[in-house]
Amino acid sequence: MKNFKSIGKPSPREDAYDKATGNAKYIADIDFPGMLYGKVLRSPHPHAVIKKIDTSKAEKLNGVVAVTHAAKCPYKMGLYLVDRPVFATGKVRYMGEPVAAVAAVSEEIAEEALKLVRVEYEELPVVDNIEDALRKKAPLVHPDLMNYEYLPIYYPKKDTNIFNHFKLRKGNINKGFQKAYRVFENEFYLPQIHHVPMEPHGAIAKWERDGKLTVYSSCQSPFTLRNLIRYAFKLSHKDVRVIAPYVGGGFGGKAGINMEPLAVALAKEAKGKWVKLIFSREETFTGTVVRQAMKGKIKTGVSRKGRIVAEKIELFFDGGAYAEYGTNVVRAAGYTIIGPYDIENVQGDSYGVYTNHLVGGAFRGFGHGELHWVVESQMDIIAHAMKMDPAEFRRINVLKPGSRNSMGQTITEHTGNMTACIDAVAEKLDWGKKRMKLPAHIKRGKGLAVLEKAPAMPANATSCARVKFNEDATVIVQFSGMEIGQGCIAALSQICAERLKMDITKVHAAGLPDTDFSPYEWQTVASRITWAVGNAVINAVDDAHAKIKKVAAQVFGSVPEELDVDGEKVFLKKDTKKFIPLPDIVLGYQYPDGHTIGGPVEGVGTFTPHLTNLDKNTGQGDAAAEWTFGCEGAEVEVNTETGELKVLDLIGAFDLGTVINPLTAKGQIIGGMIQGLGSAVLEELKYKDGKVRNASFVDYKILTAADLPEKITSIFIQTPDAKGPYGARAVGEHPMISVPAAIANAVYDAVGVRIHSLPLTDENILRHLKAKKADKGKKK
């Protein structure tokens, strides 16, 4: 490790003060005089034709300023595939879809007005699961699919419910299976889950009569939001301004475009007035996006020595009623489809499927939690069947320097060390050690699962940062990576201070973007901000230093190459006694006679990931800029009479390269693992006839402080990344990814039942235990 001044230090984050004192303003905390309140009328049906909408009574209610619906707001949106109307048009496709909205002088009046809107529906057959959706004569959720606009890197299929099919082909699959000593085939499933940010979604919009639109939004992507709003509402970028306050948790659920168009649609009808729309918790469950459900089929061929020689995988994602981010989730899961393994012959197919369920979107892990549930359960099954140690089986097969990954990229020393992650978890788990004596109905087991993920982003996902010197040579660093809780304000300040060779206390991060003033940023998604914007910050500092050196060179009668800058001065390298203190130059250098040269110093830096599109037929190419490898392990205890599962130990080791801030890195890892644990043992959106039944905290539970494992450990493996800022790598999403498989594998080790379907509730485990017992009984 280099001798860093700011990097690697547990600096407290600047935003924490605002948040711990209650000063931090979130969307719901923002008010304007004369502001109106919006409310949304939602479909009670999962699939129905809208026969008639009558808003006349609502419009007449005293205090109502605007009522809108598809007829007044005929706009559509979509990140990659434009399939989603702002308001249900002609028909509703999921329970909770917006049908109309009102803005009134108070929330109470707006609510009252909603009750006065009359909508007549005629119910349609519901596409209630993936199998139904794929059936030959399935009702089509989007009969007009092929007429929609979409980016050419996605592949919808005519006359089906498939909105994207991603293909991966590597080697020769048939030859591969011919070489196999044994072949394993399995199916796995996981349900839809919700992000559950603690802050419900919200936006405040004003549409001026001169055509200018301002939107405050709790969002992850102010610039992409601006882009998508201006596209949907047919405006110019310069006329749309998006301002992002603190965001109370995103996890993907506030990426891209979400509920903002509803506020904009109301603002358009109530020109010149602010319209505030804050979702209730129930609306946050049904009216935003969710993680897709997924069914995965996997077939793996293994050599006698336990080397994987061929693998065929099909993933079917329940994308819900609109494709949204799901299009790209399908693609990202598709190109990583085999996980971090070195397999010569691969056939992968990843499908996004429309149903009448809640809209699938981006979710921490972006398809990787889903694919690793399939792959990492399968690897465990194979290891046990081959009588191999599951950790050893993985060590043999995972990517190593020289391996080629699923999309054909070559792994190098700098890509990260998968094996070290496995070793670290195994060691901490006392892998293979004997177990203590316990009562007959209490069984303990250990399991682990590996993972990999790269930021999933288009090749033109660019970033910009600005570094501004103040009069006293303190610095303000500007960027539009959103502080959604992950700690980018701290990390980017540290990177900035390091590059400036300046004490961190002299750097202030202006991290709450305003698209009118802040530098461009594609989106705060894909665990990419520290990595991508960090590089932009470094470039911005270098640019500022170059500007300082240029002026100083003139003063010294020298050339910039002979100068250097540190946190306090610009100086001649050869003669350090010749220097100019930074405060004397950062606003321009003034000679004793008053003559001034130079000017205020602002450095601008950009970053572009340098990727390529993938081949349509093989999925081969360069779609991943960097990979983070990890391994997660657990020790569990199962009560065989009740199915009750207790997690004794949960461990995650990630090769996150150089750790910028150990405090926030630990927070990401532990927070992610606990969110992953919730998805493993508890969380599920439950449906009946296409209707969600648990859209509230009463019946959609998340883990509390009382539900933590007895022990939880985060381990940093630090193989510097060749392209990351100071060698840093992404780690935001990864900790969530393989917890379910690690737990399921530990359950298998404990009680010998293999569970193919999440969540691993006590009841689910007990059902499997009873089935196993009944099976045994039959065999006798």
Partner: protein, 163 residues
């Protein structure tokens, strides 16, 4: 206090005596946020399930979304805005900052108020007691571990101060 939909209430908020007319259906959370601009308490669910709106009502932490403002007549209310000293923030706030207990921050004010009430009652809680006390305050970011560490650290510091 008078009959009907509108009521005059007198209560103390963060040490300041206040009189206010409220509607019977207004919650304490709404009144604190909208009348006094005390937006530290957040609405995370409005149904008493998440703890983001935690304030102290006569010394006990409650979900202010489930307290009617009229119920708070004669009560003492303490919010996140009322616990700092003149020149320094409260040791619990400081510990939350230092120990990485804050991520998105939406649960933070409620979490701190619950911790504040816990340490008032039990200056030296063990880990199990802390977890139990915090079980009504949901956090989706941190996985709670650094929050628990912060509460332990704050307890230690506060005890040290008391001598």
């Amino acid at each position: 206090m008078k009959k009907g939909f509108v009521h005059e209430i007198n209560f103390t908020v963060n040490g300041i005596k206040r009189a206010l007319s409220v509607h019977s259906n207004e919650t304490l959370l709404k009144v604190l946020r909208e009348h006094y601009g005390l937006t530290g308490a957040k609405e995370g669910c409005g149904g008493g399930e998440c703890g983001a709106c935690t304030v102290l009502l006569n010394g006990s932490p409650v979900n202010s979304c489930l307290v009617l403002a009229v119920e708070a007549d004669n009560a003492h209310i303490l919010t996140i805005e009322g616990i700092a000293a003149k020149d320094s923030i409260h040791p619990i706030q400081q510990a939350f900052i230092e120990y990485g207990a804050v991520q998105c921050g939406f649960c933070t004010p409620g979490m701190i108020m619950t911790a504040y009430a816990l340490l008032q009652k039990n200056p030296d809680p063990d880990e199990a007691q802390i977890k139990r006390a915090l079980s009504g305050n949901l956090c989706r970011c941190t996985g709670y571990v650094q929050i628990i560490e912060a509460v332990k650290a704050a307890a230690k510091r506060m005890k040290g101060k008391r001598g």
